[in-house]
């Protein structure tokens, strides 16, 4: 892995307007992504974890230009892609692709597997006729399917096989960068491992870079090089995998890790967990100051007034927390 920055996101925001009344008056905004900055280095997998409503999926779509950002810049391969034209966006899709969560909803049921996988080749004018056919078969093989699957329809496949089709489609244009949006969440455990291994093999073989979005901290730990933790549209902590899981600093990260049930009854009985009280507040009116403070066991006065800034605590371990800054948490 190099230090070359493939993707650089700065102060990215996405507000969804909320309207009310007969005239559709604009009454508020859902601040889905509220000032997020991060980089993805070439060849790494950045895991983006968060609970529902944290904005992780929105970030993935903003990066791919599937959604228009409210403000902020996105640089890809050194170029600012925040305000590019529709035509340039289409060109960009040859470099960056997405794998969706739901292998049932993301494949057109009326198209054969062959048509689905070869469609990007046609759209981008990459290959024609026999070459296209050969490339399609090659793509299917790459993801562990066979040429005999070409003329079959998505409904004949299981969830794991469909997800392989989705991966093959994403790989068709030979992208550099893939946003994986909860790619294994809809799959059974035994199949999940097959797809995770496939994604890892492909990254190594094709030199891919992933932005891996998931709510599952065990899965993210398994596949990521670095991990960013999101809460209500903000990044709270970014660190190398080992630093984040072995030495989490932000109280939210700590609580999140403690909440995961470990499949080992012996550990369970020994360990007493810190339980977070309360629910995640709404992104329409996030709490003042640090938006985690109403649920935070370490919160003090300053936390409700002043929003903590991201600080590097050493070795690229970034955390936004007043209690870490003043040394309460070490």
């Amino acid at each position: 892995m190099s230090d070359e920055k493939l993707l650089e996101v700065t102060d990215l925001k996405k507000y969804f307007p909320v309207s009310a009344g007969v005239f559709g008056r604009h009454v508020a905004d859902v601040k889905a992504v509220d000032g997020v900055s991060f980089t993805v280095r070439k060849g790494e997998t950045l895991g983006l974890v968060g609970e529902s409503g944290s904005g992780k999926t929105t970030i993935g779509r903003l990066v791919l230009k599937l959604l228009e950002a409210t403000s902020g810049t996105i640089r890809f391969e050194g170029r600012d892609i925040s305000d590019i034209s529709a035509r340039q966006t289409r060109m960009l899709r040859r470099r960056m692709q997405i794998i969706f969560q739901d292998p049932y909803g993301s494949l057109n049921p009326r198209m054969t597997i062959g048509e689905i996988v070869s469609e990007p080749l046609a759209i981008h004018g990459i290959a024609k006729g026999k070459a296209r056919q050969e490339r399609t078969v090659e793509l299917l093989r790459m993801v562990g399917l066979q040429s005999s699957h070409l003329n079959r329809y998505p409904n004949e496949f299981s969830g794991g096989q469909r997800q392989r089709v989705g991966i093959a489609r994403a790989l068709a244009v030979e992208p550099q960068f893939i946003v994986c949006d909860e790619p294994v969440s809809a799959l059974d455990v035994s199949i999940q491992a097959q797809v995770l291994n496939l994604l890892e093999d492909l990254r190594e073989r094709l030199g891919l870079t992933y932005l891996f979005i998931s709510h599952d901290l065990s899965v993210v730990r398994h596949i990521s090089t670095r991990v960013a933790v999101l809460y209500l549209g903000k990044i709270f902590e970014v660190a190398d995998r080992s630093a984040l899981y072995e030495h989490p600093l932000h109280p939210y990260t700590q609580a999140l890790l403690a909440a995961i049930p470990v499949p080992n009854p012996e550990v369970q009985s020994a360990q007493k967990r810190v339980l977070l009280s309360g629910d995640v507040p709404t992104a329409m009116a996030p709490p003042s100051g640090c938006r985690f403070h109403p649920r935070c066991p370490f919160a003090f006065e300053r936390c409700s007034v002043e929003e903590p800034a991201m600080r590097d605590v050493g070795g690229g371990h970034m955390v936004a927390c007043h209690a870490v800054e003043n040394g309460t948490i070490q």
Partner: protein, 329 residues
Amino acid sequence: MALLEVRNLRTTFQTEDGVVTAVNGLSFSLDAGQTLGIVGESGSGKSVTSLSIMRLIDRPGRIESGEIFFDGRDLLKLRDEEMRHVRGHRIAMIFQDPMTSLNPVLTIGEQIAEVVRLHLGRNHREARETAIEMLRKVRIPSPEKRVDDYPHQFSGGMRQRAMIAMALSCNPQLLIADEPTTALDVTIQAQVLELMNELQRETGAAIILITHDLGVVAETCKDVLVMYGGNMVEYGSARQIFAEPRMPYTQGLLASLPRLDAPANARLTPIPGQPPNLHRMPPGCAFAPRCTYRLERCDEIVPVTDLGHGHLARCWRCTENLQAAGAAR
């Protein structure tokens, strides 16, 4: 005597492509106050098992055969109105999605009170009191106000608490929870599991927890039943299942799990192949087509082996040290 005893349960569904056997000869029993986790992947028959116990299988589904003894009576022989008395009162159930199992046009309080009025014969005022009391028990803040809220005014975690409040309002002897935390975020899941554990200790109700999440089972259940292809493949204490699994499917399931207590870069060992197609079930062991240790006789019906100390496995090779055998290959 066991509180619940399921014998040879067989539940089928009539589909356009023929009859599908969702549960195929399942037998197990549950003692009063016991917590049993039923684990399985999609299509393993775990949810149909719980719906069969509640007799909530509707056409095109049908309980073909078997017996379900609850507190000494075969539920499958009860008249509909007798069953209605058992359902909600003696056996309660909570589902995965609290939004679709709550009525959106009735307040939370009305829905809890309805159960109490129906089964315990309380009047309106008493039932409302009980509803508030139950909401307090599941830790809904200011329950005397929230009792008049509608389901959409509750968050996901609160709705699931309200469901638990409703389920426990008649002091059932058995609570069946079908994926109760699957739709919840992990921090909320931890709260709900903790709550269930506490209420279980307090009320002494037996619990059947149906889930695909092995972590949730390890955390909540004393005993575990592993299902695959419509039947039990392994049964034992949580310690036996997680530390000494004897059936290759259980072993495979544990090996394919990315876990926080394993080295981060350890490669996962997936189970090869796909889950069984219920329309074309293998004749013998349902797991045989995906099994590394398959023998010829696995294509015939495989009996359950009692491994002692309550540990059961449906596998010809469950007494061998398979992982060692696998490593030697």
